[in-house]
Symmetry: C2
Subunit: 381 residues, 2 copies
């Protein structure tokens, strides 16, 4: 890699000064983010016959071989967003060895970078604002008979304060775990930035693990360095929802929380939206704010649980008991679009008032991060 | 990757049943850890001309091309240890896309796995014992005029207890940050395992960031997704040691600590050993236990700070004030061996009694993890 760094540095030194000044993120490591938000990728692969760039939200593109064996590609200007990418070198997937930042999604790890706006940083960037603490916490689940791990965000000032705080339970989707909203979802950065700007209230954010057959994220439990899987032996069959009270009990007894419906929110993406729907519907006096982000709505085929019975009646009761916000976000290309459309028709039929956000795109983190940015400022008002 | 998984699965199905039963870690994902602790690596690269395995503590070895385009290599049986590796495919460094676990060391990310012993797990593995919590904590440093991040391990039971706990300050080396002892050093797993077996006392472990020109690990501060560097603008010039009191003050005011010299330890590797030496020598009434792991001993050329003046006199005073343990570990091939030898001769000359551990190997994490395993059980007795 030393060789590659030297080569890249040498290449940079050959650039005219004006071109160097165009670099916006060049000093921040690979890839080079240019001033116009185009991005220059490079990989040294002198013996390769073909190198392709695989970049989120774009078509795969062939890179160009330079005389020194470096393959390069400069994109069109990119919108502010978090992007993942890798190189395909003669058919072999390669992450960028000049970039230490990566994101795992289920069992796939890809290099990542963030494009900031011209006038303001991307809400997923770390900015010069007070930061909340993030803890990996082992809690006791009497219902499941085991200790399990969750991640907890406490806002800046919590440690110095004596106040009580509202709590937001934020749930991951299938293939995720208690780290997903922090890693892929940038929840801590989003919360830091929105709280610092006054757009969101300071709050505790609790991110549990929704897979009841694992006590912690892959690698963090005694099952060892397992390969993460999308599906689990026990999932979406009611056990997580039925044991969720253990999490709330732990949080309310170990943190300075406001134990009030109007100071408690729950939301999640995909399977986590499904969990949020049924946990809140089965506990209509508990959650004042509910968010379904590209939520699964219907139980899996063959699954039967009292948790999922009489959903329409439960939801009607939930709305009759005055929910402050019921927020539904879905992408127009999401494979769960129809299920969400049927669900909102059911809500309409029963005169349940909800907030509906239809975005472009499909079942993807780009949407879930955006939904979180929209959802957080609506909480606890 | 789906194609590769199918290929590997297909290859496994072709193995005779007896060979399949030899797999010890096969179910845990890539690489395949065989029953005799040999390890089988594989990468699908049909068009490659040459694929080399780069594996910690071994010589680089050429992999063999199989008919289907997979390149494979099975090692000799490996000792219990944490190993990093990658593949060199026609000159391009490639991490194992079938293995989501990796470790960053300064700016290099490599795939990793752990070999357990036949009779007991490697102390770096997650085992079925109570786990401590790990928190990323932003503390105020009045001396530096900024908020900075540290990682804090609180042992299992801390949250439910009303007791006070001893504190161990554990410092990283050059190129590291507050995450280094957790990621590369496996400090949480080592502490979990030693505390659960009764070999070490429950303790709080505080891992600060020793680079005063960065407030948090690369990627976690407002400087953005920077490329991590080994050297810093301000390092080993006294500022970290001079501001260390801020960390102790924060910990003592935010955790249930025992504020006693005999319940406070400090240790570190390389630069962190240097920090431990001078912080403890300048505060002889503060630290009952000191550990120098492959420590730098001498200030960098041209550096002058009251922190580093009169070191011999300060250390003599420190020992006169009854230190409970002064532990020095160094590898026989370490480039700092001579400096440590001169330092121990100075201690001998002044009749300062210390514990000395000379290991094989050099300036490497393999040694620092082992030193931690030896050091923790000696604390707070």
């Amino acid at each position: 890699m030393k060789h590659l760094i030297i080569t890249v540095l040498a290449a940079l030194m050959l650039l005219p000064a004006s071109a160097q000044q165009e670099l916006k993120g060049g000093a921040k490591g690979a890839p080079l983010i240019n001033k116009d938000n185009s991005v220059t990728f490079s990989i040294m692969a002198p013996e390769a016959k073909k190198v392709t760039l695989h970049l989120d939200y774009t078509d795969d593109a062939d890179m160009q071989r330079q005389a020194d064996g470096t393959w390069t590609l400069t994109t069109q200007p990119l919108k502010p967003e978090l992007y993942r990418y890798n190189f395909i070198v003669d058919g072999v997937k390669v992450n960028d060895s000049n970039n230490v930042y990566s994101i795992r999604d289920v069992s796939t790890v890809m290099s990542m970078f963030i494009i900031d706006g011209d006038d303001e940083p991307c809400p997923y960037s770390v900015t010069n604002v007070p930061h909340g603490n993030v803890s990996q916490v082992w809690y006791d689940s009497p219902t499941l008979g085991t200790k399990r791990r969750m991640c907890v965000y406490t806002p800046a000032g919590y440690e110095e304060s004596h106040s009580r705080y509202p709590v937001f339970y934020l749930l991951h989707g299938s293939g995720g775990d208690e780290t997903a909203w922090l890693e892929h979802g940038r929840a801590a950065q989003i919360a830091d930035n929105l709280i610092a700007s006054g757009k969101a209230d300071p709050m505790i954010i609790v991110m549990p693990n929704g897979n009841v057959d694992e006590n912690a994220a892959p690698g963090a439990a005694e099952t060892g360095l397992v390969n993460p899987t999308f599906a689990h032996d026990k999932w979406m069959e009611g056990t997580f929802e039925g044991s969720f009270k253990d999490i709330v009990d732990y949080v309310d007894s170990h943190y300075r929380t406001m134990k009030l419906k109007r100071k408690r929110a729950i939301a999640g993406l995909s399977m986590g939206g499904y969990h949020s729907l049924y946990i809140s519907a089965n506990n209509p006096s508990e959650y004042g704010y509910v968010g379904l982000f590209s939520a699964a709505i219907n139980p899996k085929q063959g699954v039967s649980s009292p948790i999922y019975d009489d959903m329409e009646e439960k939801v009607k009761t939930q709305f009759l008991q005055h929910i402050k916000l019921y927020w539904i976000g879905i992408g127009e290309d999401d494979f769960l679009y129809k299920d969400n459309a049927r669900f909102t028709r059911m809500l309409d039929k029963n005169r349940c008032r909800y907030t509906y956000e239809e975005s472009s795109g499909g079942h993807e983190w780009r949407n879930w991060r955006k939904y979180l940015v929209k959802f957080l400022p609506l909480l606890f008002k």
